[in-house]
């Protein structure tokens, strides 16, 4: 019981670290005229993904910003269109990737957070969809 509680507290702390990092980035982006659609966080095992469906509006520019906690080594972010085709992905090997995208049409897209490499499972990641 206590072990489970301790694990839960650790998980929360880890998720908070990723969220704090990302929230700072999102707030900085307000100064550049961006608004926030959402900011959410999760935990990932090595090689696993967390997937989100987003409806993007033609005419806006979007940025998918992320932060991993200190257990994340290489976090990847990918954007798939409604046909399951990758339309954007990051090419970095760090834990704070971001991608930008201007949808050619309004519609459903899928944001995929991928724990490409982590130091210790589970690692936390936070993701924000911002627009302008």
């Amino acid at each position: 019981m206590l072990t489970a509680l301790f694990a839960s507290l650790l998980a929360t702390a880890s998720t908070n670290e990723a969220e704090t990092c990302l929230r700072a980035k999102v707030w900085e982006s307000y100064a550049e005229g961006w608004g926030v659609r959402t900011l959410t966080s999760t935990e990932l095992e090595s090689g696993k993904t967390r997937n989100y469906v987003v409806n993007l509006l033609k005419g806006n520019e979007y940025r998918i910003a992320t932060c991993g906690d200190d257990k994340m080594v290489n976090l990847d972010v990918l954007l798939y269109d409604a046909n399951g085709v990758i339309v954007s992905r990051d090419s970095t090997t760090d834990r704070e990737p971001s991608i930008s995208f201007r949808p050619p049409e309004t519609g459903s897209y899928y944001v995929v957070l991928y724990a490409k490499e982590i130091a210790k499972s589970p690692a936390a990641a936070a993701m924000a969809v911002i627009y302008k």
């Binding site: 608004g35 959402t38 959410t40 989100y52 469906v53 509006l57 399951g84 490409k116």
Partner: protein
């Protein structure tokens, strides 16, 4: 000096003193095999994406995002100017009903936050606070809203700063709240906001005489389908049948228009206005 008997015995036990062969060091433990690197791209096809993707926090565009997209299609209309005065009671109703009303007021507040006069803004923020308190959103959120209201009342916060805080609250904080386990609350708040936004967009497009340009704003079948899932779900706190029935009918009408292959016509825009007016009017 000659070695003593004890020293000789020790040397023998240790297999040699000077000149003897040293014992072989213990063999190092075999290294654990390195975990294979994960593939460059995760193995995901469309079916896997559809089955596994979460929608609650990410799917629905915000009212300001919608305003931006409206400007991008050349409709130079301020949705804020189209927001009417509402007289919702945000306490005496079932939680579903309050959630939809709160969503409408949330959208009104976001859209008018930088342009409304001080008293109107305070009144809207107060309505949002009342609705969220009735939905049991929690003390933290209530405190945040109280601070915002105090900040506006005392001129201690700029509208730009308030917009950041309220946008964050609407887009990042509310979708993550549990509402005491009632999973319909967040989608219904979002439905209220989205329906109100669709209503204002349709009115702006009608006034501008640009119906087909609004396809990119009003054709969102994925969003409408997401709302329908929750509106059709059974629950103890459902709004009165006349409200849910109207809401479902309106959403199904919007779903029909959203999946229409041809561009939207003036008649379609009038339909959007009518069905969304019907729902909001019942609230």
């Amino acid at each position: 000096m000659r070695p003593t008997g004890i020293a000789i015995a020790l040397c023998a036990a240790l297999a040699g003193c000077g000149g003897g062969e040293a014992p072989a060091p213990p063999a190092p433990e075999p290294a654990a095999p390195a975990a294979p690197a994960n593939p460059e791209t995760p193995s995901l096809d469309l079916a896997a994406l559809q089955a596994s993707s979460e929608a609650r926090a990410t799917l629905v565009p915000s009212p300001i995002e919608t305003q931006n997209a409206l400007e991008a299609i050349g409709v130079d209309a301020s949705l804020a100017k189209l927001v009417p005065t509402r007289t919702f009671d945000l306490t005496k109703a079932e939680s579903d009903h309050i959630a939809i009303r709160t969503g409408v007021v949330l959208a009104d507040t976001l859209l008018t936050l930088t342009s409304a006069d001080k008293d109107t803004l305070i009144a809207r923020l107060d309505q949002v606070r009342t609705g969220l308190a009735a939905l049991k959103a929690g003390a933290d959120l209530d405190g945040q809203l109280a601070q915002m209201i105090d900040g506006v009342r005392g001129d201690a916060i700029t509208r730009g700063e308030l917009l950041k805080q309220f946008d964050d609250l609407s887009g990042a904080v509310i979708p993550e709240l549990e509402f005491e386990g009632n999973t319909r609350i967040v989608p219904l708040i979002q439905a209220g906001s989205w329906l109100s936004g669709a209503n204002l967009v349709a009115k702006a497009v009608q006034a501008a005489g640009n119906p087909s340009g609004s396809d990119s704003l009003l054709k969102q079948p994925g969003v409408v389908s997401y709302f329908l899932t929750y509106v059709k779900a059974q629950g103890a706190d459902k709004a009165p049948p006349q409200v849910t029935a109207h809401l479902q009918t309106s959403l199904e009408t919007l779903q029909g228009l959203a999946t229409k292959a041809e561009p939207l016509t003036p008649a379609d825009i009038a339909t959007v206005i009518q069905v969304t007016d019907d729902v909001v009017g019942l609230l």
